[in-house]
């Protein structure tokens, strides 16, 4: 086989792997990414039930009700409230009035069934999606958190 022929094979296989990678990445980006939504967006029915998404906001004061390991609470951004159900152990920093991000699925009744609850591991720190969403609603201002950013989010999950 000539030098040219071998180079063609090399380039051909490189392109094949590249195409495979691109195909996988595009398929995965279509199917597996999760959008972040605020309670207002869910209340306005922008989101179809059954879609997997992240919901972020503040845990409404007085809304947390526990029964064994099952928890109900309400996430608010000041304009709208979304009831959330979750079963499992909550992260250490989950508190009423604090920021929270929950990942899960919107139910047909407009409530949210979470399978993962995240809270950042720093008492002053607000999850950035929550901070941005709250800023949009005018309920929170830059400069309040301060301090160094937290390392990794603490997760709590039921699969």
């Amino acid at each position: 086989m000539t030098r040219k022929g071998r180079r063609l094979i090399l380039i051909g296989s490189a392109l094949t792997v590249l195409a495979l990678a691109a195909g996988l990445i595009l398929t995965a980006l279509n199917d597996t990414i999760v959008f972040f939504r605020s309670p207002s967006e869910i209340a306005e029915h922008k989101v179809a039930p059954g879609a997997r998404l992240r919901l972020g906001g503040l845990v409404e004061a007085g809304s947390v009700a526990k029964q064994g390991t099952a928890v109900r609470f309400t996430v608010t951004d000041g304009n709208a409230q979304v009831p959330v159900t979750y079963t499992g152990i909550l992260p250490d920093l989950f508190r009423e009035g604090q920021g929270v991000v929950a990942e899960g699925v919107v139910q047909t009744d407009g409530s949210f069934k979470a399978d993962t609850v995240l809270a950042k591991h720093d008492e002053r720190y607000m999850p950035r999606e929550v901070a941005d969403a709250l800023k949009k609603q005018g309920h929170w201002k830059e400069g309040e958190p301060g301090g160094p950013p937290a390392p990794a989010p603490v997760r709590s999950t039921v699969q």
């Binding site: 086989m1 030098r3 071998r6 094979i9 090399l10 296989s13 490189a14 792997v17 590249l18 495979l20 990678a21 996988l24 990445i25 398929t27 995965a28 980006l29 199917d31 597996t32 990414i33 999760v34 959008f35 972040f36 992240r54 526990k66 064994g68 390991t69 079963t87 499992g88 152990i89 909550l90 250490d92 920093l93 990942e103 591991h121 720093d122 008492e123 950035r128 999606e129 901070a131 941005d132 830059e142 160094p148 950013p149 937290a150 390392p151 990794a152 989010p153 603490v154 997760r155 709590s156 999950t157 039921v158 699969q159």
Partner: protein, 667 residues
């Protein structure tokens, strides 16, 4: 006083870095041996000064000098000594100083052990190293100075983030940085080769030990970080596909590819241009990782935009080094000499296959990590690219790679015989099929529908890799074909790098075994228990014996003690706790872990309810320790390769003598 000494030492180190960057490079261009000779002693001097600055910062932390802002922010006088020391690098400024220190260490190592390098190459390598050092020392001094004083010193510090108050912080960042920054040597060699416009097999022989060293540290660093996250975050996950983790995985993948392509270059004088490009890419990914973690861009795209000094500075470093090196590559790559030819089915072909899939996998991790940032910056949409994305893309690309892994080392150089190799792997394939069938039968026997269908197949694949690695050694020794005595003699005569390859590949198989069994057959129980109540998980019963308060040096902890019984027989206790840190008013979850064989029982607790019940989660993780054990075995394989005589003893002089000896392998 100590802070000021540290500051001056850093400034002097910067001056030395500038000298080391300019003088040897100039000497190399003019062919002046005196100017080139400046590089080595200056590199050693720089290590002394950066090391001195680092020692000053450690001293400030040990003595809890709260007149220094960095110490106030990240330390507490009540912390145990070991955490006072580790908090030196448990923050942005200190960790950048550690980065610079590791860079200086590697520069000094090249100066010390680079005796057999040609003078020009050595001078250029050290000059490129010094240019990186200059950039990072400037970054530290201008934007992240750890030695800044506070006007009115407080009486007490604000404590280290409790999550970081763990022995993991003592080991993980130094290991990871040794890996990250170690890749700068391969980068410096690549740039030096491009500057000289000349590269040969000897170059690959010099670069390989450095890359291998970096790769070993990176492997151990990533494994250590994974285990740390596993036990400290209390969730039991060992890999989150978090951008911070991906930042360390990408250089690892590129370094793995580089190791393999450097073999082709060393043995067959082929793939030169590609190897140079990989060396540039591997270190570029290290820099991008540093940018992701250190610029604050992950925490908030907006914080990055409003307080841009640090981020923009690192971004500028990225542009200069990555852009500059790629531009140089584009200019000079065409001048590099063509290498030897090989058939598609050959050892070289297999290593190209490895490189193609590894770089594609790196690209998929890169896209998954940066796409959300790009999308948010461009459209404002916030998305999460989580495990499903990476499982599909990264997993999909790794699958053909690991399947092909046993074939590679068995193929001959230049032109291989795939059918013959397949026949020699029949026994390994047999083991794999048996393992898959046994696994499927066993899971079916335990319960009707537990575990995904693919898991037994994946177990079979892992066994195939392990058996394939052993086949490689057995084939080389001729076990079964020659007399036992001859086989033993051949076995002891095999080069260490052959064992290194086999053991590193074995490690991948072991790691895969752990990953598959942990993801497919973990058992989980979440419950609220009162004292004396029992939760059953798998074959074991967990009884909450008592809950008690204990005092730590700078925290109080609430400890739940569980008794473990299997079939009525006591197996001791496991303790899970919640720690409350007063200084930051933060709580951490301390998981309780008991190891049985290769499997682990993982218990963590949540809050206590008003009625006295305690939320708890118990997880049975079968063969989970194999994940990290596999990584350690991989590193061990790397170490064996590094110990190979051929890499240590006098690398031959550059290709002048080889040029004639290696006829172009054309037909």
């Amino acid at each position: 006083m100590i802070a000021e000494i540290g500051q001056y030492a850093l400034i002097l180190a910067l001056a030395l870095a500038l000298v080391q960057m300019v003088v040897p490079a100039w000497g190399a261009a003019k062919g002046d041996p005196v100017l080139m000779g400046v590089a080595a002693p200056v590199a050693l001097a720089m290590l002394i000064f950066v090391g001195g600055a680092f020692a000053c910062l450690v001293a400030l932390y040990v003595t809890s000098d709260f007149s220094v802002a960095n110490v106030v922010e990240n330390s507490h006088s009540q912390m145990p000594l070991v955490y006072k020391i580790t908090s030196t690098w448990g923050n942005h400024e200190g960790s950048m100083l550690l980065w610079a220190l590791v860079l200086a260490v590697f520069g000094a190592l090249v100066a010390l052990f680079g005796g057999n390098l040609p003078d020009r190459l050595k001078a250029n390598v050290l000059a490129v190293q010094a240019s990186i050092a200059t950039a990072f020392l400037l970054f530290i001094l201008l934007t992240s100075n750890p030695f800044l004083r506070v006007l009115s010193p407080p009486g007490e510090g604000r404590d280290l983030n409790p999550v970081l108050q763990d022995p993991g912080l003592a080991i993980h960042p130094p290991l990871l940085y040794l890996g990250y920054v170690g890749l700068s040597i391969a980068f410096a060699f690549a740039i030096a080769a491009l500057i000289e416009g000349r590269i040969d097999a000897a170059w690959a022989r010099w670069v390989r030990p450095w890359t291998l060293t970096a790769w070993i540290f990176l492997t151990l660093g990533i494994a250590m970080g994974s285990y740390w996250a596993y036990y400290e975050l209390g969730w039991g996950g060992w890999w989150f596909w978090d951008p911070v983790e991906n930042a360390s995985l990408m250089p690892w993948l590129a370094a793995t590819a580089l190791l393999h392509s450097a073999v082709v270059m060393e043995k067959r004088d082929a793939l030169k241009v590609w190897t140079i490009l990989l060396a540039i890419l591997a270190f570029s990914l290290s820099l991008i990782g540093t940018f992701l973690v250190r610029s604050g861009v992950l925490t908030s795209v907006h914080a990055f935009a409003t307080d841009p000094l640090r981020g923009v500075f690192i971004l500028a470093i990225l542009v200069v080094f990555i852009g500059g090196s790629l531009a140089l590559f584009a200019l000079r790559a065409g001048e590099l000499r063509q290498g030897g030819l090989f058939a598609p089915i050959s050892r070289e072909g297999a290593l190209v296959f490895n490189n193609l899939f590894l770089t594609a996998a790196t690209a998929s991790v890169f896209v998954g990590t940066l796409y959300p940032l790009a999308l948010e910056a461009l459209t404002g949409d916030k998305i999460t690219v989580g495990p499903p994305f990476f499982n599909l893309t990264f997993g999909g690309l790794m699958l053909p790679l690991v399947f092909a892994m046993p074939f590679g080392p068995l193929l001959a150089w230049k032109r291989g015989d795939l059918l013959g190799v397949a026949q020699r792997l029949m026994l390994a394939a047999g083991f794999a099929v048996v393992a898959a069938v046994v696994t499927a039968a066993a899971t079916a026997a335990v319960s009707e529908e537990r575990g995904p269908v693919l898991a037994p197949v994946a177990i079979g694949l892992a066994v195939f890799i392990i058996a394939g690695a052993l086949t490689d050694i057995a084939e080389r020794a001729g076990i079964g074909r020659v007399s036992a005595r001859l086989a033993v003699r051949r076995l002891t005569g095999l080069p260490r790098s052959t064992f290194g390859t086999a053991i590193a590949h074995l490690g991948v198989g072991i790691c895969l075994l752990g990953i598959v069994s942990e993801s497919a057959w973990s058992l989980e129980k979440i419950a609220a228990v009162r004292i004396g109540e029992t939760v059953t998980i798998g074959t074991r019963d967990l009884t909450l014996a008592r809950v008690e308060n204990r005092a730590g040096p700078n925290f109080t902890s609430r400890v739940a003690v569980f008794e473990i019984r299997e079939g009525g027989i006591s197996q001791g206790t496991v303790e899970a706790a919640k720690r409350q840190f007063a200084a930051r008013q933060m709580a951490t979850t301390e998981s309780g872990i008991r190891t049985f064989g290769f499997s682990q029982l993982y218990v963590s607790i949540g809050e206590e309810h008003a009625d006295g019940a305690l939320s708890m989660r118990a997880t049975w993780k079968p063969f989970v320790t194999l994940i990290w054990l596999g990584a350690v075995v991989m590193a061990l394989g790397g170490l064996l390769s590094l110990a190979d005589r051929r890499l240590r003893v006098g690398a031959p002089k550059p290709a002048r003598m080889r040029r004639g000896a290696l006829p172009a392998a054309a037909e």
